[in-house]
C-alpha cells in the first residue's frame, strides 16, 4: 500500500510537471483553478477534519488574500510579494476574527464565521475607495516573478504562471502534510475527539483552536492571492458565503478524515462542473444533485471508499 501510494504520488507530480508540454491553455487554466481550490480546501479541512470546527466564512479570508495581492500587484509588480501579502492578510484577519470565533464550538462557531465572512463581503462592496466596490479591482497585471538581482521570469505565458502556482501549491501542501502529522496535528485530532481530555493533558484548547483557525486563514489567503494574476480582476463575490461553501463541498466529497480528500474533491468539483456547464446554464442544480448522490454513495468520502473498500478487494484478487 505504501509503495503504491508513493508511486502514485510520483506519477501525479510528474504528470503535473509535464502537463504544459501537451495541454492547451484551457486545461492549464483549469488545473490552476484546481490547485487554488485544493490549497483553499486543505486549509479548511485542518479546521473541519482535524480540529472538528466547521467554518462557513473561509471565503472572507480567501477574498482578503485576493484583495491584498491585487492591491500590491497594482503598485509593485512582483508576484511573490503579492502571494506573501495575500497570505499575511488571510492569516492576520483569521487571527483577529478567530480570537472571537473560537470561544464557541459547533453551530455557534459556524454561525459566527458565517457572519464575519459576510462582514468582509459587505466591506468589499461598500468600501469603494479601497476595494473598488462592485467594479472590484481591475487591470491587475500578471507581474513577473522576481528575486531582485538574481532572476526575473516573465509570467505572461500561461505555462509559466502554471508552474508558479504548481510550485507554491506543492510547497504549501507538503508543509500542511507535515503539520497534520506533527505533535500539533495530533493534538488537534485529540481536540476533535474529546476536548476535555485534551485540556487534562495540560493544553489550552482555545489557543490551539485559534492557531488552527489562523493556519486555515493563511492557506485561504494564499489561495486567494493566486487568483488575481490569473483573472486580472478581483470582485466582491469572492467573499460571498456561496464561495465559502466550495471548500465545504469538495472536502465532504473527497473525505474529511483523509489528508488527500480535499484535493480529490477539488478535481472532481471542476471535472463535474466542466462537463455539466457544456449542457446547461443551470449547472448548479445538477451539480448539487450529483454531489448529494456521491456523498451518499461514498460514505466518508471518495478517498476512504477507495482505500478501505476498493483497495482491499483488489489486493485479494
Amino acid at each position: 500500500m505504501k509503495n503504491f501510494k508513493n508511486l502514485l504520488l510520483i506519477a501525479l507530480i510528474l504528470f503535473l510537471l509535464l502537463l504544459p508540454t501537451f495541454a492547451g491553455k484551457y486545461l492549464l487554466y483549469m488545473t490552476i483553478n484546481i490547485l487554488i481550490l485544493s490549497v483553499f480546501a486543505l486549509g479548511f479541512n485542518l479546521l473541519l477534519g482535524y480540529t472538528g470546527l466547521l467554518s462557513f466564512g473561509q471565503a472572507g479570508f480567501f477574498a482578503m488574500g485576493a484583495y491584498a495581492s491585487g492591491k500590491i500587484l497594482l503598485v509593485i509588480p512582483s508576484l511573490l510579494l503579492g502571494a506573501i501579502a495575500g497570505m499575511a492578510a488571510g492569516g492576520v484577519s483569521a487571527l483577529i476574527l478567530g480570537y472571537l470565533c473560537v470561544r464557541h464550538t459547533r453551530i455557534y462557531f459556524s454561525m459566527l464565521t458565517l457572519s464575519f465572512g459576510m462582514m468582509i463581503y459587505s466591506l468589499a462592496w461598500k468600501w469603494r475607495d479601497v476595494t473598488g466596490g462592485d467594479d472590484g479591482l481591475v487591470g491587475i497585471p500578471r507581474a513577473p516573478f522576481e528575486i531582485p538581482g538574481i532572476l526575473t521570469i516573465n509570467m505572461n505565458p500561461m505555462e509559466n504562471y502554471y508552474y508558479f502556482v504548481l510550485v507554491i501549491s506543492l510547497i504549501a501542501i507538503f508543509i500542511l502534510y507535515r503539520i497534520v502529522n506533527s505533535p500539533f496535528g495530533l493534538t488537534l485530532k485529540g481536540i476533535r475527539d474529546s476536548e476535555n481530555r485534551v485540556a487534562f493533558a495540560g493544553i489550552s484548547i482555545r489557543n490551539y483552536r485559534l492557531l488552527s483557525f489562523t493556519f486555515a486563514g493563511l492557506y485561504a489567503g494564499l489561495a486567494g492571492s493566486l487568483l488575481p494574476p490569473l483573472e486580472n480582476t478581483v470582485t466582491p463575490p469572492l467573499a460571498h458565503w456561496t464561495h465559502s461553501a466550495e471548500p465545504v463541498m469538495v472536502t465532504l466529497l473527497g473525505g474529511i478524515h483523509t489528508f488527500s480528500g480535499p484535493i480529490v474533491g477539488s478535481i472532481l468539483f471542476y471535472l463535474i462542473k466542466d462537463i455539466i456547464v457544456r449542457y446547461t446554464q443551470y449547472w448548479l442544480i445538477w451539480f448539487g444533485s450529483i454531489v448529494v448522490f456521491l456523498v451518499l454513495i461514498f460514505r466518508g468520502g471518495v478517498v476512504i471508499f477507495f482505500t478501505e473498500r476498493v483497495w482491499p478487494l483488489l489486493k485479494r484478487t
Binding site: 503539520i179 505533535p183 493534538t187 476535555n196 481530555r197 487534562f200 493533558a201 495540560g202
Partner: protein, 255 residues
Amino acid sequence: MADLLRTEKLRKYFGVVSAADDIDLQIEEGVLTSIIGPNGAGKTTLINLLTGNILADSGKVFFCDENITYLPIHKRVKKGICRSFQIMNIFPKLTVLENLQIPILSFMNRSLRFIKPVYRHTDVNDRVEKLLKEVGLMDKRDLPAGTLSHGDQRLLEIGLAMAPDPRLLFLDEPTAGMNPVERVKILQNIRRLSRERQSTFVIVEHDMDIVFSLSDRIIVLHRGQILADGKPEEIQQNEDVRRVYLGEELFWDKL
C-alpha cells in the same frame, strides 16, 4: 505530613441544591484517599471543583499552598493535578498509542512542534511505551481506542490521566460498568501504580468492597457536606454513615 491539597469553605450551588456546602478538606501526600457517599452527595461535583471542570461559587482551593481556585484546567494539570472521568473520555478514533502520545507530548512541551512527525520524537515515544506497559495495553497499541473492550478503555483512561505524571490524581469511579474480572484487574493496577508512582490517588467509588480494601482514608459526603472522615475501620463503626446508607444495612452487616 504536609497537605497536598486544601480547601477552605468551598461552596457550589446548583439553583437551591447544595452540591458543595462549605467544604473544608485536606488531602495528604501519599495517602490513598477514597470519597464515598450516596447518589447526589456531591462527589463528582467536588472533583470537578478541585480539577477545574466547574468553578466554585465561593471558597478557596489551595494546591501546595498556592491558590488555584480560579485557575483553568490546563494550568492545574501543569501544576500536577489530573483526573479520569466517570463517563468514558478517551479519543475513540485515534489508536491507543496516539491516545497516550497526546498527553505525553504536552507533558514534555512538544505539542507546539509543527514540522517533525510524531514518530520521530523518540524520547516521547519511549515514555509512551513505558506507560503502555504500565497499564498493560502494549499488545493493543495500534488498535483504534473506540474498538477496545470496556475494561481496556477504562485502563486507557487511567493511563491518560497518569500520563502527565501528576502529583495528585483523581479517579472518578474507575470501575464503573465493569464485570468482576475486569474490576479485579483495574484494582490490582491501581494498587500497584499507587505504590510505584510518586502520585497520590484520590478515588471516587460506589463499590464498597473496593473502597474498604484499597483506601488508607475514607471521606463520606452527604448533601454536599463531609459527614465522616477517617480510616476504613473508623468509618465502618460510624453511626452517621450507617444512617445515611439506610436501606443498604444488609450490605453493612456483611462487612
